[in-house]
Symmetry: C3
Subunit: 368 residues, 3 copies
């Protein structure tokens, strides 16, 4: 049967192909596509390795590791793009990851799960709390844009100060949500975590119950290095490839890159939804968005500021509209703790119209 | 007693009056008002005829007929205005119909129903799903405006392409909602439909249980033709009449025309609310908004494109604000499945302040 | 123990200090700070006196008194600022009071209450209805800004007409909510009021069950006069003090003044939350916001219009963003009728990022 593991093994072949493309100076479009495909299985394996290490080091440190490395692929990809000065691409990737997790990943999970089960249920308390955290995060990330847009003009230095201050608040909130979900109110999230452990046990036949810590740390390092290498290929070929494909930097950042970066979450969320574990499916999709907004985005702002590639939180106003829209419709659909195939369809339709709008948006800014 | 049927019979007298006004070249204001009043009973009779035919042809085809012809009056009126090139009036009628159904119709239903019953209840699952569909529809319809407003300027051709693409997505979503509500999850909507059948039986004493199909098709054709004729009178007198009355094209399209077009839904929603059938009342109001957004608006965009009267989805930004506001407050009031007179009052107050804002809005665009 | 009453008695010492500062021509910053501190206990005593009178005159007139004088401090402060022509400061105080009640007061109440109790509950029906009223009020107050912002420009006279018309609708809605909560649906609000009476009995040991009406009316008059006097000092020192402290008029109006004006509500909401009376705590915070939006703001618009200091409802667009954001996140957190410490933290974090944004906002307008 053509299952997830087989697909990942095949996709792994693109690692040497993309490297060959780079050294033999093939067309940038080919390097871009093969590097993109190569990153998908690496992101999935990185997740597996992190979970194995988490099992050994215990629930507290393990939960922290999981939460921190959950979006390591997005983080590495964004770091390299930031280092190359592609600030607008990095910003577009942030909004795009939030949108694609909430609409595309959750949409497919609810649609495919809903075609098999008439009505699916998930824990509404955690869903509501995630929704409220998401609201805050989106508000915080988009406020600097609103300040810029509603004033006669705010200086670059002021915008940078405001962005760093907002980033610090967001990281504090991220720490609070970790304390809440792992310490004081862990019972609210228990079901999901238990399911996740059973899930990884049953789908990964090779995993033992007492994995070898150093082996997995070694594997994680190798994978991380490969992701870095592949991300370099992706970023260096990005400009030439997208213009050859007729795509704007905005569309590439908002639509194309997040689909590559979130492929692993996507596979997990859909797989568990089809096993009627909607609690876990929704928490993967929303949790991943939350990590992007509360951890990845602020870390990038602070890093950019430290390495002298100032990355402020001043987005294209249409990104503000798109993220607001995505959060509102995801909240309205997930807040009752029930889902069906039409709700999945509505999320996907929202993603489709946003995708169309980004495709046709006559962006004036460049990549950096 | 002065009941609904008596009022409709009296209003029917305005059909010959408006025709006389047209041929005797009376003042445009008189033709406009009489044609407007004449359309009200015609819209109601059109609904009755469609329901009678629906009973004969069976639930599936009947439900489709009902869903498609439910807003036939709005559609005919908009077609004729579009043919005459009054594109801005047509667009304003779309937003106005959504606003007036959600705020004015639902507001009066909750207020008058709530004055008789302390607390009224309706099925929250269908209400929530309708709210989510409405959110999507409004987002989709307003995205082109947001693209236009957040960019340095988007070409007319691009805007037209985007609008047609969005229209196609909306019609697909409309088909999905029909499949959901009539096939896979029909049980969620059963109560409302059963009530509607009992309702039409009890209020329409003349209806037999096995209506004559061809008779009703004939009646429907005659009514449709009369509506067309009256719509022509309304549209041709519109420009002169509104400027004589000191109204802007925006106010006429958003406030005046939807009150005429939705009078039938209005009467039904209020009547059944006063019989404590809030399920049906809410579904008439929200369902009518949904049909406008998911069916009437995209059909008009595609038709306009085919007949060479390009109608894009680029609205006045204040219409965007008004529709967003109407949907948010209607969601916030209907999402708990309960209503009382104050909630009706809040919807009407929202309609009042939006009406004031449209009245004072210094619009610069013309009718077309 | 350093309880609320002791703190208030100490703060009362700032009444003579601020007067001395004024007459001895001390630095404006000192007068501003001491007058601000002096107002805090006066606002609390004003509330106590109003409640005592309310007990004597009976539930109906008493409820009305409570509702009308509940925000008397804000009203007096705003009147004096309006008389001095500081229109922009008054407008900023209105949005700031709404934001600080919903985010700061409710946030601290939920955080501190939630640190003591794992999960706290409050009546969701009243919370939802308050949320819907708040939505309407915010929509109404911000519509003139939206009209101004989405049009080529609206004349000052038109804006004034629209603002007064909106103000009249809001006062009508305020009267409707009073009828609803005190007459037709009083039972929905019973718990909160009963708690409030027990609360004031237990914290105010000196209050007898049959207070002397004329004594309390006398006390209320004295306190009101003192508040007026102190408000004069605050307003006259405001311009010089804020520029000496490096604060913009916008920041002072949105952040500093509402903290002074709402200190009493703040103390009450937090105290009762720590006694697990979340119903009362939430209703104090949201109720106070509602009174600002439905009563204080429209009264100021109408008064300004009558005394020839035209105060329209045209806000800085960023205030529109901030209030919308505050209402959305407060709704999303309070709509399920449950709270915990993280939800309090999220409200406070939202307040923090809004505060940062207002601090960095490069405002161009002046005080008046």
């Amino acid at each position: 049967m053509l299952n997830k593991n087989t697909i990942f093994l095949v996709l792994l072949l693109f690692v040497p192909v993309s490297l060959a493309g780079h050294f033999l100076h093939w067309d940038a479009t080919i390097v871009f596509i093969t590097a993109g495909l190569a990153i998908i299985p690496l992101a999935a394996y990185m997740g597996t390795a992190t979970e194995e290490i988490a099992v050994v080091v215990g629930p507290n440190l393990g939960g922290l590791l999981n939460a921190t490395f959950g979006n390591a692929t997005e983080l590495i990809l964004a770091f390299i793009a930031l280092k190359e000065g592609l600030v607008n691409v990095v910003k577009a990737t942030i909004t795009g990851s939030i949108i694609s997790n909430l609409l595309l990943v959750m949409g497919f999970a609810m649609l495919l799960g809903g075609l098999r089960y008439k009505e699916q249920e998930f824990q509404p308390t955690a869903a509501r709390l995630n929704a409220s955290s998401m609201n805050l995060a989106v508000i915080a990330i988009l406020l600097p844009t609103a300040v810029e847009y509603t004033s006669a003009g705010i200086g670059e230095a002021t915008l940078q100060h405001l962005s760093v201050a907002v980033a610090i608040v967001l990281i504090l909130v991220y720490i609070l949500t970790l304390i809440f979900s792992m310490k004081t109110h862990a019972y609210l999230y228990d079901v999901g975590v238990a399911d996740l452990e059973i899930e990884s046990d049953s789908t990964e036949a090779e995993s033992s119950h007492k994995p070898n810590l150093w082996l997995w740390i070694g594997i994680l390092l190798v994978i991380t290095l490969t992701v870095a290498v592949e991300s370099e290929l992706l970023v260096e070929s990005l400009e030439e490839a997208t213009s050859a494909l007729g795509l704007t930097a905005l569309f590439t950042g908002v639509i194309v890159l997040p689909i590559i970066g979130n492929a692993a979450e996507h596979a997990t969320a859909v797989t568990v939804a089809m096993k009627n574990k909607m609690d876990l499916s929704v928490s993967v999709a929303v949790g991943s968005s939350l990590q992007i907004a509360l951890f990845v985005a602020p870390v990038l702002v602070i890093t950019g500021w430290l390495i002298g590639q100032p990355m402020d939180l001043d987005f294209n106003p249409f990104e503000l509209v798109a993220v607001t829209v995505a959060v509102l419709i995801a909240n309205s659909i997930s807040s009752d703790g029930k889902s069906n195939w039409l709700e999945g369809g509505l999320l996907l339709a929202t993603y489709a119209v946003l995708g169309l709008a980004f495709y046709f948006h006559p962006i004036v800014e460049g990549l950096g």
